[in-house]
């Protein structure tokens, strides 16, 4: 195994791995500061912050020969015998000078800049910079330039790392961003009439090491040090991009991509990035309601205490007779399984179908490889796999509609949790004649208008559990924010309807599912943050 020596410490790297010195040093616990390098973009070595001393150790004699000058760690491959020095005087002085150079013209905007608290220029200044200013003082400007519908640019904060420009050329393939002028007058800009508006635009804000590029959606909303971040999964499509939900006091402020080499690498799309506002939409369904009068129409909903919902809902459905259930592909594997179990405990012949699967016209793949899926729900594969444990036929939503139209059901429990409108009046009317209709959804719809029970749904950040994406990767996540008072996430309701004690524990349900089915065997143990491929264990 190739051995690299970092600050005197030996570390082994994989024989097939292609690492640069930043990555190799990281393995040894040394973080080499850098701005322009990013593993998902081409190497330009232009910021010069990562300059280190390197050398080679002769395999036979053990003698070390150091290069006479500094080299960028980002463009230097780490090979067997590579010697990396990250904290010599020469290196420290070089870093201090780069920091000083970047701060000469940088507007000292921190009090009004969103990036404060997560700004590399700030961090490196404190870690590696000089304590006093030596350059001339001049008044600074902080021009704001509109580069697109979702991204704003504070031109003078830019340190010319060109990550954003490279992103639009290499990953999104849309080439909207450019550098204009030459030398110290260079700026980032867009061509007039050709704004930054591709579906991956928001990623340039993540890439910007300083506060030059900003998310209009997040601008001035919250200081980053007040936010907590929870590892989640985006619920926008079947790609299942790993994300961080950043929140404070149960309010979501923004989503960020979470690095996952198996799913989304470093990126998320704008639809997912900004697709959290429905969680705080004031018109979402809150509180459990049951229609007062015997007839399903015309009466309004009476609020029912959740503890009563557990018993009364079961009673209503039992009384109604034959039950049909739509298991929404927005639900987790654990919720889907519990719902099926609850349904079968009410009606042993309950018809279990996959809920409505929202679809756009086609998958969209970008030149860098990132794909936005046409299937706009996160867990169809997971729900299908759960239902297959109960009914190998795995009926679809269309199958459920047929089943109800054919008069083979007396009650229907439709779970949704869709962030947008998904059912029209004609489809809802299919359920109009049933004795008991349960609409468990995020927003009111033609279905909730005719429903007997009107129950709320959880938003993705309020949910805990496991989703399975298009590539059969199962990812488990915790709840990031608590739902509003009056909202029991589906999992909590199903847990209580199964008669389980204590707080809803998705991991307990997960273990139970894993132990009882080959399909989900991979979920038995600790699941890594980047998820696990279900098929690997299915082969056994």
């Amino acid at each position: 195994m190739p051995t690299v020596i970092v600050d005197g410490k030996e570390i082994e790297i994989g024989a097939d791995e292609r690492l640069n010195c930043i990555e190799a040093a990281r393995r040894a616990g040394a973080e080499i500061p850098h701005y322009c390098w990013h593993p998902g973009l081409s190497v330009v070595a232009s910021c010069r912050m990562c300059l280190i001393e390197t050398g080679t150790r002769d395999a036979a004699s053990g003698k070390i020969a150091m290069m006479p000058k500094l080299v960028p760690a980002c463009q230097t491959p780490a090979k067997d015998g590579t010697v990396i020095v990250t904290e010599s005087t020469l290196v420290k002085e070089s870093r201090a000078r780069v920091e000083e150079a970047l701060l000469i013209d940088h507007p000292i905007d921190c009090p009004i800049c969103d990036k404060a608290g997560e700004c590399l220029l700030q961090d490196y200044h404190f870690q590696h910079g000089q304590s006093e200013r030596r350059a001339d003082l001049h008044p600074f400007t902080s021009r704001r330039r509109d580069v697109g519908p979702t991204v704003t640019l504070f031109v003078d904060r830019c340190i010319m790392c060109t990550r954003c420009v490279r992103f639009t050329r290499e990953v999104s393939g849309s080439s909207e961003l450019m550098v204009i002028n030459r030398g110290s007058k260079e700026e980032i800009d867009v061509f007039p009439g050709y704004p930054l508006d591709n579906k991956l635009s928001g990623n340039v804000v993540d890439l910007c090491p300083v506060g030059a590029l900003g998310d209009k959606d997040f601008l001035y909303q919250q200081r980053v040090w007040f936010m907590k971040r929870e590892a989640n999964v985006c619920g926008g499509c079947s790609a299942g991009c790993s994300i961080f939900t950043e929140h404070n006091q149960d309010t979501v402020y923004r989503l960020k991509p979470r690095e996952n080499p198996h799913v989304n690498t470093w990126w998320i799309c704008d639809e997912g990035r900004y697709g959290w506002h429905h969680i705080h939409d004031e018109s979402r369904i809150v509180g459990a309601g049951r229609r007062g009068a015997a007839a399903n129409q015309q009466a309004s909903f009476d609020t029912v205490e959740w503890s009563d919902v557990v018993t009364r809902l079961r009673a209503d459905l039992k009384q109604a007779g034959r039950l049909a259930v739509a298991v929404s592909p927005m639900l987790t594997v654990e919720e889907a399984w519990m719902l099926c179990a609850v349904a079968r405990s009410i009606d042993p012949q309950a018809f279990l179908a996959v809920g409505h699967v929202p679809r756009a016209s086609a998958d969209e793949t970008f030149p860098g490889g990132f794909t936005i899926r046409a299937e706009k729900c996160p867990n169809r594969l997971g729900v299908e796999a759960v239902i297959s444990l109960f009914d190998p036929a795995v009926p679809t939503w269309e199958g459920l509609l047929e089943h109800v139209r054919a008069g083979r059901a007396d009650a229907a429990w439709i779970t949704g949790a869709y962030p947008t409108a998904w059912i029209d009046g004609d489809t809802a009317a299919v359920f109009a004649g049933l004795a008991c209709v349960v609409a468990q959804d995020f927003f009111d719809s033609p279905l909730s208008e005719i429903a007997t029970w009107r129950l709320p749904a959880a938003g993705f950040a309020e949910r805990a559990g496991t989703w399975v994406n298009v590539a059969h990767r199962a990812q488990s996540f915790q709840q990031a924010v608590r739902p509003p008072a009056g909202v029991w996430p589906e999992g909590r309701l199903f847990w209580n309807m199964l008669g389980r004690r204590g707080l809803y524990d998705p991991s307990a349900v997960r273990r139970q599912i894993a132990e009882s089915s080959a399909t989900f065997a991979a979920l038995a143990g600790e699941i890594p943050a980047t998820g696990v491929d279900l098929r690997i264990h299915q082969l056994a």
């Binding site: 204009i180 030459r182 050709y194």
Partner: protein, 165 residues
């Protein structure tokens, strides 16, 4: 995508396309295309950038990126019919180049890089023109004006401005 009448004339397009066989890809035609447009229009307006980009299969931002790097192509309006590059590098500066520049700007009533209101003259500082044997010198359109004094420079340019009308 192109709603307005084309800025690139058929002659310009033909000239650009004639160069295509010289290079293995279209992007390499960028700088030649900018020159072809600039030679006729004395500037490269934004619309021309869009048209060049479309011709070459590039995004307008990519062409504009290249264009602005050179600090050479005017874009908002044409430069003067006489474009006088006045050298300010060391060999010309040692023999009075800065004085020539100052005098020309002053007598034409413009700032460096500016154009006279009648559109006849643009005066731009230039870096070494490679004519240090004739310092101080000016490159005016395609002519090298040599061994200048502030007065002789003004006189030569006056003649050129008259001829260029």
């Amino acid at each position: 995508m192109i709603a307005q009448p084309r800025i690139l004339t058929p002659e310009m397009v033909a000239k650009i396309e004639a160069l295509a066989p010289r290079y293995p890809n279209r992007r390499a035609l960028t700088l030649p295309a900018l020159h072809i447009v600039n030679d006729v229009l004395r500037h490269v307006p934004l619309q021309a950038v869009v048209e060049i980009a479309h011709m070459l299969g590039l995004a307008p931002a990519e062409v504009q990126d290249t264009l602005t790097f050179y600090q050479f192509f005017h874009q908002e309006k044409p430069h003067g019919r006489v474009r006088a590059f006045v050298c300010r590098s060391i060999s010309c500066a040692l023999r009075g180049g800065d004085q020539v520049l100052d005098h020309l700007c002053h007598s034409a009533g413009i700032q460096p890089y500016g154009t006279t209101p009648d559109g006849s003259l643009t005066v731009e500082p230039a870096e070494c023109l490679g004519a240090c044997d004739f310092a101080p010198c000016i490159l005016a359109n395609d002519q090298l004006l040599k061994n200048l004094t502030p007065e002789s420079a003004e006189a030569r340019l006056r003649d050129l401005r008259t001829q260029a009308t």
